[in-house]
Amino acid sequence: MALVDLMRVEQVSASGRAEIGARRIYILPTRYGFIFAALLFLMLLGSVNYANNPAHLLTFLLAGLASNAIYLTWRNLRGLRLVCKGASPIFADEHGRFIVELEKSESERPAIQLMFEDSEPELLDLRAGSGRFSRELILSPMPRGMQRLGRLVVTTQYPLGLLRAWCYLECDRPVLVYPRPGEQWAPTGEEGEETLDGDYGRGNEDFVGLRKYIAGDQPSQIDWKSYARGRGLNTRMFSGQTSAPLWIDWQEAPGGDVEAKISALARAVLDADARGRPYGLKTPEGTVPPALGPVHRHHCLRHLALFGSNHA
């Protein structure tokens, strides 16, 4: 831990913004840097042995270039401003996409490499100009829960590849990982328990017509085809009986251990959401009251994702 404390890490602000400070940049020679140094030594030996002054000059010119490369490589990172946007929730075993926006500046910043310590590196040339340039970092699959990412490492070797400058960014943008959906199963109450008092237009079985969009209607109910034809936003109406809310219950979920049960519940949430039937969730850690829609789906999956952790 002492080492980590000594390390200079740039803290990302709560809004996700960070600027790479001049004193936070590490720089060391790359493998090519060492090879180049050996080459320069050989060239110097040759120049001295043959007392050849143009050769001396060439050697010193290359040495001067390598020496300046220290500054140039460092400068390629210094003052780089970026915004860690974070990643949308994903399911376990999926690759998340973490969005980072880099701010352009007066001079170009070629060959900037972005990487979380355990993800695939992303490489880009940041052109000169104004505005931002957005890049997605592909994350490696993670288990369910609120997953903290490691440090974001911003690296560059430009211009000569002899040196690598890098900077650590501690960015507090955890990724919510939903549980991996398990096998399909049917919670009790899936088939029946229909109420008799029909409610025109509020059911979910037979299409009966369109009405004007009212703010709050679900996007899946909007008749996008008529919108495309220029008829404005309309909501499709369905007849049928309003379904009684379906309860997705921990007790009924198949599977022996906790993880299997959570996977099964996640599957049931997705199925119920797809069917458009209001549903609620009951687990030993609490209850999510019945509702429908993407926000509700997120609440349920989040509840499952954080099951057993302190966040619940």
Partner: protein, 657 residues
């Protein structure tokens, strides 16, 4: 740490450029390397070029191993392994070829570029001329921009070239400081074999050999005088002194004089620096007569300068001379040497000398010298580069029949005549004259200025320079010979600058090139430990060696790095897009007039609001808006009207109506 750059595919265009560039960089080695080595390299290069299109033909591991062994055998059998320089270069060339054949990943390109830098260095080991250096510098710029391109994702050649040049310029201060302060050794670390044929003046004079030298326009050496310049008739550049003769050939003699005779002068020394072209011999040249010799050389008994080593590459040295010299002592041995006669001297020649002796006072040898010179100038002697061949008694034929000769004819026969008259005499070969480069403060002495003259011993005066050529062709001393014209005419044609405007331009350019070439030599190629010391002395750092030099080197480098860093910190006013600047100007104008133009308003809105406030200017505002929107959001080609927009914005008057 993972490196995404290394995993990118090979940039094909960059690789093609690199292959062709390496071919161009190895090409000057055609003069040095065995053709087979070059054939090997270029075949490998061609192979790799074709493999760009058809990756299938890249050699496999076994074939590559076979090729490697073949290449090694080739190097061993075609190169003299004792010559480390040549063997090393040949090895580098074949290795580079092999590297191209196994080039499969981006990292291989890095290493290939590094080998390219080394290739440039090997070129300098054979030729250090400015012209080759310029060519190679362009090659280094290209290599460097390829290296920069390799380290970014999108390769943009023009931008890269600009960045590369900027990088080179900022690397120069450090490179120069280290170049000037890095300690120079006096000898090589290990054996350096030398070769090279002898050119220029030799320590032997046969009739015709100086004449043939004179046909060459090549530069023998260049001279820079530090304060005063000697008069034309003092510009005798002393080389070897010849004592022995058989009537036709003159040579230095078998008993070289070791002891330095005493010299007497008025103490006024001319200081100068000579940059000698390679001669392959030990002789150095100095203004007659050298009193302050350069280091690593000695003055022999004839007051000729002899270097410690053969001059195989350009050499710069400083010396001082006193033109009003007197070489006094003459030992008995020297007197005998200076009076030796060839075995056969014709009676007709003897009769001529006896006649002169009769007419002059034997106590005044200069009278006889005068007689002989008068003979050359009064009779119909011709100064010519094509004297024809002399048969039988060359001396007699020349003096009485052909009477056509070049400086060696006159110097040789004059020295012989003096010896017949009992006056000790010898022949000096060297150069006479020189041309001033109008663009630089130095003089150029060419092979065509090669000359031979005599010295006679006169009591009290000592060795006295007599130039019989001056008696025949006095203009020779004032002017240089024009070898190109003399060759055709037979008659000696002197350099006269009357060749018209075009010729004048050409001559000017040639002099300029000569000045640049000398500067390159004096400040780069010939920058020796001695010159380094002179430079340091200018900064008051006398006798800086070892640790002192190392400290100076470190301080100098630190200063250079700091300088570049500070310059890089200066914010540059970038060449900005003029349109936003113009728009800002308009907004500023509106703001002063009291129109609110918040940043979230677009041009349409702003112009609309302004036109409402100033109805009189509404037409102007509409025109400005139209031009601005057209250029700002249209294509680049529509930017021709930028001047019109500027004019309209500048002329815009906002008055409340």
């Amino acid at each position: 740490m993972r490196d995404a750059l290394a995993r990118l595919p090979i940039p094909q265009r960059l690789l093609t450029a690199l292959l062709l560039l390496l071919g161009a960089l190895i090409a000057p080695h055609a003069a040095n390397l065995n053709p087979l080595i070059l054939v090997f390299f270029f075949s490998a290069m061609l192979w790799r070029l074709i493999a760009q299109r058809r990756p299938g033909i890249m050699p496999g591991r076994w074939l590559l191993m076979l090729l490697t062994m073949g290449a090694l055998v080739l190097v061993i059998f075609t190169t003299n392994v004792i010559d480390g320089r040549l063997a090393g270069t040949a090895l580098l060339a074949v290795m580079l070829g092999l590297k191209l054949l196994e080039l499969r990943a981006r990292r291989d390109i890095h290493v290939t570029i590094f080998l390219g830098y080394f290739l440039v260095l090997t070129q300098f080991l054979y030729d250090q001329s400015l012209w080759l250096a310029g060519y190679l510098f362009a090659g280094v710029v290209a290599l460097l921009s390829l290296q920069v391109g390799l380290n970014r994702v999108n390769i943009e050649l023009r931008l890269q070239l600009r960045n590369t040049l900027a990088m080179l310029v900022s690397a120069l201060p450090l490179a120069l400081v280290v170049f000037l302060l890095f300690p120079r050794l006096h000898g090589p670390l290990w054996g350096v074999s030398s070769s090279g044929a002898s050119t220029g003046i030799s320590e032997e004079m046969t009739l015709g050999n100086i004449g043939s030298l004179t046909r060459s326009n090549d530069i023998a050496f260049r001279v820079r005088f530090f304060d005063e310049t000697p008069d034309p008739d003092e510009r005798y550049w002393r080389g070897p002194v010849l004592w022995n003769t058989d009537g036709q050939r003159w040579s230095a003699g078998t008993h070289p004089l070791r002891s330095l005779p005493s010299v007497e002068g008025d103490g006024s020394a001319i200081k100068y620096e000579i940059t000698l072209e390679p001669t392959g011999s030990y002789w150095l040249f100095g203004l007659d007569v050298v009193i302050g010799k350069p280091p690593s050389s000695r003055l022999n008994g004839n007051f000729s300068l002899v270097g410690d080593q053969r001059v195989h590459r350009r050499l710069s040295y400083r010396a001082s001379s006193d033109p009003d010299y007197r070489l006094l002592a003459l030992s008995e041995f020297e007197r005998r040497m200076a009076l030796q006669l060839p075995q056969h001297v014709s009676s007709r020649v003897r009769a001529l000398v006896t006649e002169w002796q009769r007419q002059t006072n034997p106590d005044r040898p200069l009278e006889l010298v005068r007689k002989a010179l008068d003979y050359f100038s009064n009779q119909t002697f011709v100064y010519t580069l094509s004297p024809g061949t002399l048969e039988g008694d060359a001396m007699e034929q020349f003096l009485f029949e052909t009477r056509r000769g070049f400086c060696e004819h006159y110097a040789g026969s004059f020295a012989l005549l003096m010896r017949l008259a009992g006056i000790p005499s010898r022949v000096v070969v060297g150069y006479q004259g020189g041309e001033r480069n109008p663009h630089a403060d130095h003089w150029v002495v060419r092979q065509s200025d090669a000359h031979a003259w005599t010295e006679v011993w006169v009591p009290k005066l000592g060795w006295w320079r007599v130039d019989p050529t001056a008696a025949v062709a006095p203009e020779r001393i004032e002017q240089s010979i024009n070898p190109a014209l003399s060759q055709n005419a037979g008659q000696v044609v002197f350099r006269v600058d009357d060749d018209g405007m075009l010729g004048g331009l050409w001559r000017n350019a040639a002099w300029l090139a000569d000045a640049v070439d000398l500067g390159w030599h004096q400040w780069v190629v010939g920058f020796t430990a001695e010159r380094q010391n002179n430079l340091l002395q200018m900064f008051g750092l006398r006798n800086l060696k070892g640790l002192g030099l190392a400290i100076a080197l470190m301080i100098g480098s630190a200063l250079a790095i700091t300088l570049v860093y500070l310059i890089a910190q200066i914010p540059r006013s970038k060449a900005q897009d003029p349109l936003p600047a113009m728009w800002q100007r308009l907004l500023h104008k509106l703001q002063r007039a009291g129109v609110k133009a918040p940043p979230w308003h677009g041009p349409d809105t702003i112009c609309h609001v302004a036109a409402q406030a100033f109805p009189q200017a509404s037409d102007d505002l509409a025109a400005i808006n139209r031009l601005y929107v057209q250029m700002r959001y249209g294509r680049n080609e529509d930017r021709r009207q930028i001047a019109a927009l500027r004019k309209r914005i500048n002329r815009l008057r906002l008055k409340r109506g």
